[in-house]
């Protein structure tokens, strides 16, 4: 049992660091939730793909490097350390792609992955419906089988990235007689197809980070069904585990944020240390004097320590998961542990930073205010933490349903 960095991983780290340094924008990109910002993020993803850094863990033929999980974590650490922009393609990269690798056909992989890697096609997720949030099995949007394929109708909501994305994926009820988890089919569709109406929804920060999608007999060919028709729930659950677990929140994000929190605590500024330039962030770091006026800040020190301890625990836990997966283990209900842990850690470290900033905390468009609003969504999406806790109790502790 050791924590010694693997020389090959470290060589990879150096390459990632150099690669990122050469392509990261000198200025923060405009918000991904504006048309201009979306385009800028898409353009950045293309550069990332050109540097073969977009999807390091994918097979080479789809634009990846066949990198092991450990190197994917290295990439993530470096990406957050350098302050890289939000990954505009994250729904595709971290939710749809793992599903395709598990359940997609060769033809689907070949057709869908390459333009996903380059962000030529950006994907939105279309899970929830007005009546199906935590209770995802209550889905009512329908997929009616026709001779040529399927006709999708109904309403999806809380679709992240849908305001500007190209395509979307989600579950539809293909057997109207079946109930709940049965009779659902996993389908992909074009957000610009006839019959699709997208209505952006303003998030807490005022930006259309997600949208409603209205579908009125939207045609989808059979080729865009993933897995067997009617088996959509099973297919989707493999994605859900990824969404909760490793892929959506790699430890690099929290180590970078905690590093910043420690600097804020220590010096009253969270500007990067000399020699490290924060790239691609939308937001200027806090002013050096910002927290100097906060009386009683000493008492916040414990929370800074706790944030670091939790981030480090999450990182180490992930190292353990990587080792277990390398030994042939699988990621099941355990991913619910991580989901609750990282989402609460995220909120708590942002709150600690805001408390350190005192009356400056409420200024919008700053790193911590933005991070806080973003973090608030964590305990809700990808299955609320209440749902996760029930999963943990029932599947890991064996408590009765």
């Amino acid at each position: 049992m050791d924590l010694d960095p693997d020389p090959v991983d470290e060589a990879f780290r150096a390459e990632v660091r150099a690669g990122l340094a050469s392509i990261l924008p000198g200025q923060p990109l405009p918000s991904v939730n504006t048309e201009e910002g979306f385009a800028a993020h898409r353009e950045f993803e293309r550069k990332l793909a050109d540097a073969r850094l977009a999807v390091v863990s994918w097979p080479e033929r789809y634009g990846g490097r066949d990198a092991p999980l450990s190197q994917w974590l290295v990439f993530e650490e470096e990406y957050y350390r350098a302050g890289g922009p939000v990954r505009v393609g994250q729904n595709g990269l971290f939710l749809l792609a793992p599903t395709l690798f598990a359940h997609g056909s060769e033809e689907q992989l070949d057709r869908i992955l390459p333009p996903m890697a380059t962000a030529e096609q950006v994907w939105a997720q279309a899970w929830s419906e007005p009546g199906a949030g935590s209770d995802l099995a209550a889905i009512r949007s329908s997929a009616v089988s026709t001779e040529e394929g399927w006709l999708l109708s109904g309403q999806k909501t809380w679709s992240s990235r849908a305001a500007f994305a190209d395509r979307a994926f989600g579950l539809f009820r293909s057997d109207p007689a079946a109930e709940r988890h049965r009779g659902l089919t996993y389908l992909m569709f074009d957000l610009r197809a006839p019959g699709v109406t997208v209505r952006p929804i303003a998030q807490l920060d005022g930006e259309p980070g997600f949208a409603e999608i209205f579908l009125d007999e939207v045609f989808v060919p059979d080729a865009d069904v993933i897995g067997e028709p009617g088996a959509g729930w099973k297919v989707a659950m493999s994605t859900a585990s990824h969404e909760r677990g490793l892929s959506l929140r790699s430890p690099g994000r929290f180590m970078a944020a905690t590093d910043r929190l420690v600097r804020l605590w220590q010096s009253g500024s969270d500007r990067p240390r000399e020699g490290r330039q924060a790239h691609g962030e939308r937001i200027a770091p806090e002013a050096p004097q910002a927290n100097r006026a906060i009386a009683g800040r000493e008492a916040i020190g414990d929370r800074v320590a706790d944030a670091w301890i939790a981030a480090r625990a999450y990182q180490l836990h992930t190292h353990g998961t990587v080792a277990s997966l390398a030994d042939g283990g699988t990621l099941g209900a355990e991913s619910s542990l991580g989901k609750v842990f990282w989402s609460e850690l995220d909120v708590s470290l942002c709150e600690t930073a805001l408390d350190l900033l005192g009356p400056h905390a409420e200024l919008a468009d700053r790193y911590w205010a933005d991070s806080y609003l973003f973090a608030l969504a964590g305990p809700i999406y990808a299955g609320t933490n209440e749902i996760q806790r029930s999963v943990i109790a029932e599947r890991l502790l064996g408590l009765p349903r």
Binding site: Q203, A295, I380
Partner: protein, 332 residues
């Protein structure tokens, strides 16, 4: 000892509640966020008619010279609904700050609601809230009080708040440290009551949502996890409220414990409101994360307000210091 509101005070609170229920406060708050102060100012006028803006202004200047308890009654409802604008500044802090420094006309205009004021007191209150909607913008820095030309507006995470860093302008007083501190105390009291009200608004919205929203075939409010979270919110609010009234009494009678009581009230109200906000988001789920949902009107406001008029760390330090070295207060 009679630690309960008078019938008159209850009726005053109920009247404000009724007035604001009939007005479209959520709509006015959204317009305010979009830069249209019209509907919000109409609500301010209605509140002025009900006496809210005159509460703290001395009777000699056309005000009501009411007790801080009355201010708390009003502010809980203003937070409960939630009314936009520089409330703690205009109806609580400035009338105290300017009581001896400004002309009777200015005070009378604050009392009548014809004049809305705001202020900054760096470093405690580095920005003046909503100076673009105010006719009177005051900067108090190192004991000096001046009328200020309002500066550039900065966005807050609460879209219905705009923040202005001020420059020194026409001086009103050079050595008004005591008045500045008294104004900060009064504004802090108002902020505590506003937070308490916001927490109540959030809890009521949650209870309503939990009764009507169904998942897994039953109202989400039937799930124990939701019940227990909302019960904790109610407990937080119910035990914060008496602290605010006690602080108001202490401030009104100039007790030596006033600073301690005030900080204790602010800590409890802000904690209770923060818990209400976190819980509201969790109980509402994704819908709560949108501007369309009314709880968004309170969520960011709670975060913003709970770090102004002194931070939680600052107020806890005041309580601790008062317990161990009596007779110290914040900003003294």
């Amino acid at each position: 000892m009679r630690f309960t509101l008078t019938e008159e005070q209850r009726q005053f609170g109920a009247a404000i509640h009724e007035l604001l229920t009939d007005a479209d406060v959520p709509g006015a708050a959204r317009s305010w966020a979009d830069g249209d102060h019209g509907p919000g100012l109409a609500i301010w006028r209605a509140l002025a008619k009900a006496g809210v803006t005159a509460l703290v202004v001395p009777e000699s200047a056309g005000g009501l010279g009411a007790s801080p308890v009355d201010l708390v009654v009003a502010c809980e409802e203003l937070g409960h609904h939630p009314v936009p604008g520089p409330l703690a500044e205009s109806i609580a802090a400035l009338p105290v700050l300017l009581a001896d420094l400004a002309s009777t006309e200015v005070l009378a205009a604050l009392a009548s609601g014809d004049l809305i004021g705001t202020l900054a007191v760096p470093p405690v209150l580095p920005y003046a809230l909503d100076a673009d909607a105010a006719g009177l913008v005051v900067l108090a820095e190192r004991g000096a009080v001046s009328m200020s030309p309002s500066g550039i507006g900065l966005r807050s995470i609460d879209p219905a708040r705009r923040l202005f860093a001020l420059r020194t302008g026409q001086e009103l007083a050079a050595n008004a440290g005591d008045q500045v501190r008294a104004a900060l105390y009064q504004g802090t009291l108002a902020s505590a009551a506003l937070l308490l009200g916001a927490g109540r608004g959030l809890l009521e919205a949650c209870a309503e949502h939990a009764k009507t929203r169904e998942q897994f075939g039953r109202p989400v409010g039937a799930f124990q996890a939701v019940k227990h979270q909302l019960a904790n919110v109610l407990i937080g609010l119910e035990f914060a409220r008496p602290l605010v009234y006690a602080a108001a009494i202490a401030l009104g009678t100039d007790e030596p414990t006033a600073a301690r009581d005030l900080s204790a009230a602010r800590v409890a109200c802000a904690d209770a409101a923060r818990l209400a906000a976190r819980t509201a988001l969790q109980v509402h789920g994704a819908i709560g994360y949108t501007r369309e949902c009314d709880i968004s009107l309170w969520l960011a406001k709670v975060r913003a307000l709970s770090s102004t008029w002194g931070s939680q760390a600052e107020h806890r330090a005041v309580v601790l210091a008062a317990l161990t070295e009596p007779r110290t207060g914040p900003w003294s």
